[in-house]
């Protein structure tokens, strides 16, 4: 049997199609997205796309899963515990922002789709992004609570609001890295985050 491309193991083929989908979405957005366009990008016929994913909706959902999985994998496990013990909150914030921005730099496709959702992003996918964002904010809020406890909470500071602000700034820094990677190297941003964090007097509680 002759085929245009060499036969690949099913999971390799699947991965190849998901990568192609993320590339097309990052580049052209969702409008005009068809199985045909994705197949072309992946260098295959439409047949394997239908065989593996059934329809465009299912393929897009799988690509969104893939993007989320990659994004999650970039978050170090150490940050996923509720209590970071005796670590210094300012060190944690500086290190976390550097890790995040390096992840963005290393995998711009994944992060572009998440941080700069294209015009025409289907409602279900938008809702997923919003849900993910809420989860990230909850997670950051736990860290903020821990951090405020360590430094002595300023009167009136709301951990949820601070968490939203940290996430919003992080997202914007990520967008800056995506748009102008040479202008915003990780060192420049990490240095600025360090400088800002250093402004906050971090008196530890007795």
């Amino acid at each position: 049997m002759r085929t245009r491309t060499p036969r690949l193991a099913a999971d390799v083929r699947r991965q190849q199609i998901l990568d192609a989908t993320l590339r097309v979405v990052a580049r052209d957005g969702f409008s005009g997205l068809t199985m045909e366009v994705i197949a072309k990008e992946a260098g295959v016929t439409r047949t394997p796309l239908y065989a593996i994913f059934g329809d465009l909706g299912t393929l897009l959902a799988a690509a969104a899963d893939e993007g989320e999985a990659r994004a999650r994998a970039a978050i170090p496990e150490e940050l996923l515990v509720a209590d970071l013990g005796t670590a210094r909150p300012d060190d944690v914030l500086t290190a976390a922002s550097r890790l995040f921005l390096e992840a963005v730099r290393a995998d711009p496709l994944t992060w572009q789709v998440l941080l700069l959702p294209a015009a025409g992003t289907p409602k279900e996918i938008r809702r997923r992004y919003e849900r993910n964002r809420r989860e990230v904010i909850d997670r950051v809020e736990q860290l903020v609570r821990w951090g405020l406890e360590r430094v002595g909470p300023p009167d009136g500071a709301d951990p949820h609001v601070i968490a939203r602000m940290i996430v919003a700034v992080g997202e914007d820094l990520g967008r800056m890295v995506l748009a102008e990677p040479d202008r915003w190297p990780p060192d420049r941003i990490a240095a600025a985050v360090g400088d800002v964090v250093a402004l906050l007097p971090a008196e530890e509680r007795a």
């Binding site: 025409g120 709301d158 915003w184 420049r188 400088d195 250093a198």
Partner: protein, 205 residues
């Protein structure tokens, strides 16, 4: 189809009619995108006939442009006030809090205007996006000027990257507005208290 036949729509002065049509267009665009701006839809939401729509605006494009201009003017008016070219006698702390408060009040008063500004809806013409980008850059430049003025008043602030700081402040302001848009019941003063608490922890000189 004489306009007089529509009992529910008494004659309106043209200025008032235009305002009504702009309001409807704004809501449709924010809630459903530019594709929802259809003459029949607008006419029925206004309780009038299509010819009356076209008497106020010669085309749907003209109506959309007029709406975008009005909203842009509203946003610009607020931003000119809350991001002044010159801080005057205010301290950086007070200016920042006053600016955030001003933009939050504006967003609470006209949520649709600010939703449009923050999230250009589906189908926003490329030329409009370009204008938005240019205005955003101008706002960023003005913010940066204020950051350059404010940072030296902060113990340890001189060395801070002012270009990055300006971006950070805009991101913070936008997120403040987003909180109010997400939940109109948000207590503005309570929201500002977190920022205030952090600002008061800094060593101002």
């Amino acid at each position: 189809m004489s306009p007089r036949g529509v009992a529910s729509a008494p004659r309106m002065p043209m200025e008032e009619r235009r305002r009504q049509l702009l309001d409807i267009t704004l809501r449709l665009v924010v809630e459903e995108g530019f594709g929802a701006v259809q003459a029949q839809r607008i006419a029925s939401e206004a309780g009038i006939t299509k010819p009356i729509v076209y008497r106020a605006y010669p085309s749907l494009a003209a109506l959309q442009i007029a709406m975008l201009r009005r909203e842009q003017r509203r946003v610009d008016g607020v931003l000119a006030k809350v991001v002044p070219a010159d801080a005057g006698d205010l301290s950086p702390r007070d200016l920042l809090l006053q600016s955030l408060g001003g933009v939050l009040d504006a967003a609470a008063k006209r949520p649709l205007t600010w939703r449009l500004a923050l999230h250009p809806p589906e189908g926003t013409p490329a030329i409009v996006r370009k204008i938005i980008d240019r205005r955003r850059q101008a706002l960023l430049d003005r913010t940066r000027g204020l950051v350059q003025w404010g940072l030296p008043k902060l113990g340890g602030g001189q060395a801070i990257d002012d270009e990055l700081m300006a971006r950070v402040l805009l991101a913070l302001a936008i997120e403040h507005v987003q909180i109010v848009l997400d939940d109109p019941q948000t207590d503005r003063d309570a929201l500002l208290r977190s920022t205030e608490a952090i600002l008061d922890r800094l060593r101002w000189t």
